[in-house]
Amino acid sequence: MGLIQRAIETEGIPTVGITLQKTVTHKVRPPRAVYLRYPFGHPMGEAFAVRQQRAILEAALEALETLTEPGAIVEPGWVWRRHRFE
């Protein structure tokens, strides 16, 4: 996914992506990433967990506005099935 993200940024559009695999992200180096220690298949969290999905999307969009270092990875630290999204 990082390669696609890099191609879009190269075209001149700012990008942010979710990553579930920090090791891959450190190698491929997309412009901005939000890392979640979630299982594969759950980049936005659990099914019908509206608050969780919304918090993840908002964290990513916020990263677009606040990150200034190319290749930065944001880590909200939300523990899978433990963190309560209010």
Binding site: I4, I13, V16, P30, G41, Q53, L61
Partner: protein, 169 residues
């Protein structure tokens, strides 16, 4: 037999996150030293935001991604962002998409993005979503990097996208 092995691996990777990290450390990736970067030109609340995913999402009416080729399928599908989720399906054997089958927002946050737009947190939603099948390797990597990824980038620009949010499988 290979299908069974893939199914077992998918369940193991879903349940044991450290397995994925082990695989990632051993696997060869296209490694980069530089990072492309452009600044967001306006606040998100004034931006047209587009969604891109590598979770293998596509319209039921579109051809499925090729799951027989071991190097994956570097092609992409596009569909309207205002799509009815019931028209979508997922073709991807290499991850457990049972949650996303029930709620597409688990891999592609169509409803969440619409809510942020209604709340004025996002300016607008780009007209089209673009979707890949994330398991791309070997000879297909060149097709992705040289051909299909830049093609999607150009289409996003033509669509008026000012920011792009990407989700993996």
């Amino acid at each position: 037999m290979r299908d069974l092995a893939v199914a077992v691996a998918v369940q193991l990777f879903a349940r044991l996150p450290w397995l994925g990290e082990c695989w990632a450390r051993r696997h060869r990736f296209v490694e980069a030293s530089d990072v492309p970067w452009v600044r967001l030109g306006q606040p998100v609340r004034e931006s047209t935001v587009a969604l891109v995913t590598t979770a293998g999402v596509h319209l039921k009416s579109q051809p499925a991604f090729d799951m027989e080729d071991r190097d994956g399928d570097p092609s992409f599908r596009e569909f309207p962002c205002e799509v009815d989720a019931r028209a979508l399906t997922i073709t991807h054997k290499y991850y457990d998409h049972s949650a996303a089958d029930r709620d597409i927002n688990v891999v592609l946050p169509l409803d969440r993005l619409r809510e942020l737009r209604e709340d004025g947190r996002v300016g607008a939603i780009a007209p089209r979503c673009y979707s890949f099948m994330g398991h791309i390797d070997g000879r297909h990597l060149e097709t992705l990097v040289q051909d299909t990824a830049p093609a999607v980038a150009r289409r996003l620009r033509a669509d008026g996208a000012q920011a792009v949010f990407l989700t993996p499988a």
